[in-house]
């Protein structure tokens, strides 16, 4: 393994605010190939897993990112007290509907939750967890919502396909769409 490449890649992941994809790293190191960079990332991730420090490298939103281990939460949360507000149950329910049934329009989300979700959609848009994907060719051209890369980053997901499967939901959803 090329040790100098490993440390360069590590420094980039360490300094980046967002998860870094192998492609992004490749663009910064044009003389290296993607395969090398991928291998180095996998090795780095495994190394930190073994090092038993307070942080690891995790694979999230198609990229790699350093983050602390969950057991240090109480101390860090105390330090950062005011930064992030928690999502309410209502917001989480709405977000999971968007995640599992995307692309989805507001009307359908409201049918599923049985309540108005306007304010919650606004909050989720504001937090960058959902986005506007387009418009449905229906009367009124309703807005279609989907999840974002930030959603993947926040919920520790590599990509949408790594969402835990909830088979029955998908089946019910499929029937709905055919109506």
């Amino acid at each position: 393994m090329d040790n100098s490449l490993k440390l360069i890649v590590e420094s980039l992941v360490f300094a980046s605010e967002e998860p870094l994809t192998p492609q992004q790293i490749r663009e910064l190191l044009p003389e290296r190939d993607l395969k090398e960079i991928r291998a180095v990332l996998v090795e780095l991730k495994a190394e930190y897993q073994q090092m038993k420090r307070s942080f690891i490298i995790r694979e999230v939103a198609k990229g790699y990112q350093f983050c602390t281990l969950p057991r240090f939460r109480p101390y860090i949360a105390k330090m950062l007290s005011s930064t992030q507000s928690r999502l309410s149950r209502a917001a989480l329910e709405t977000l999971s509907i968007v995640a599992y049934k995307q692309p989805i329009i507001r009307q359908e989300i409201e049918r599923l939750r049985g309540v108005d979700v306007g304010g919650i959609l606004r909050l989720l848009l504001k937090k960058g967890l959902i986005r506007i994907v387009g418009r449905k060719p229906l009367p009124g051209r309703p807005i279609i919502y989907g999840t974002t890369g930030t959603f993947l980053e926040v919920f520790d997901l590599k990509d949408l396909s790594s969402l835990p499967t909830l088979k029955e939901i998908e089946e019910l959803g499929g029937e709905e769409d055919e109506q």
Partner: protein
């Protein structure tokens, strides 16, 4: 009475129904409609008594429940039984879906959530972020754009009509026109200058052009005597 200990706040009718099904320990696919309807209505009464605003969605569900209940009390013919089944289905299906979605939400909530359970490296802000004035695209999300526009429309232009109105008369054009008119004649009366103006906007443009020309010392404006015509006279050239 299931709400004795504390009044729970339910998100919507499905949330309340699911709660009733759980505390009665009944199967979703075999809801005892009469009991559940009664408890559901009791809850709405309680909300009313406490002066809690009841959302329309709660009332729609209440009427569906009562409809099924009344059908069940009627002498049963075959179509009645069928209708009851259909109505039941109308409640059961969304409830099942809702239950699954709650599970999904719980699943999401149990993950290692960034900023709640795990944290990124605290990156020093100074110097690391690109300046605004560079070639890179902006780091903003759509919400920011929407919000900026909404704020702007609300704060500065409540109810403003935003159509662009073409302005047929420009001050620049009028300045050229006045210069042309003064060519050769040396002086011109104020009255003559406005003789051909057809609209207020044209008059305003002409007047502004006049002021501009005086300011640039191309010409001067004077009056021989009070009450006589105001005259324009070229200064330079």
């Amino acid at each position: 009475m299931p709400f004795e200990t504390k009044l729970e706040v339910f998100e919507g009718p499905l949330d309340l129904l699911l709660h009733l099904i759980q505390i009665n320990e009944v199967d979703i696919s075999d809801i005892p409609i009469a009991t559940i309807t009664e408890q559901y209505l009791e809850y709405l009464d309680l909300m009313r008594a406490l002066d809690i605003n009841i959302a329309g969605d709660f009332l729609v569900m209440a009427s569906t429940l009562m409809h099924i209940k009344s059908k069940m009390l009627l002498p049963r013919r075959d179509d009645d039984l069928e209708e009851i089944e259909d109505l039941r289905e109308e409640i059961v299906r969304p409830l099942m879906e809702y239950m699954k979605l709650k599970e999904a939400a719980n699943e999401l909530a149990s993950r290692d959530i960034l900023y709640r359970d795990v944290f990124k490296r605290g990156i020093e802000m100074n110097g690391t972020r690109g300046e605004e004035d560079n070639m890179n695209p902006a780091k903003v999300n759509l919400y920011g754009l929407m919000d900026a526009f909404k704020r702007l429309m609300k704060e500065k232009h409540p109810g403003a009509v935003l159509r662009f109105k073409p302005e047929p008369w420009s001050v620049k054009e009028k300045m050229v026109e006045i210069r042309d008119k003064l060519k050769g004649v040396k002086s011109l009366s104020f009255r003559d200058l406005f003789a051909e103006t057809a609209s207020i906007s044209e008059m305003i443009a002409t007047f502004l052009a006049l002021l501009e020309l005086v300011k640039t010392e191309f010409m001067t404006v004077f009056q021989e005597q009070e009450g006589t015509d105001i005259m324009l006279e070229v200064l330079a050239e």
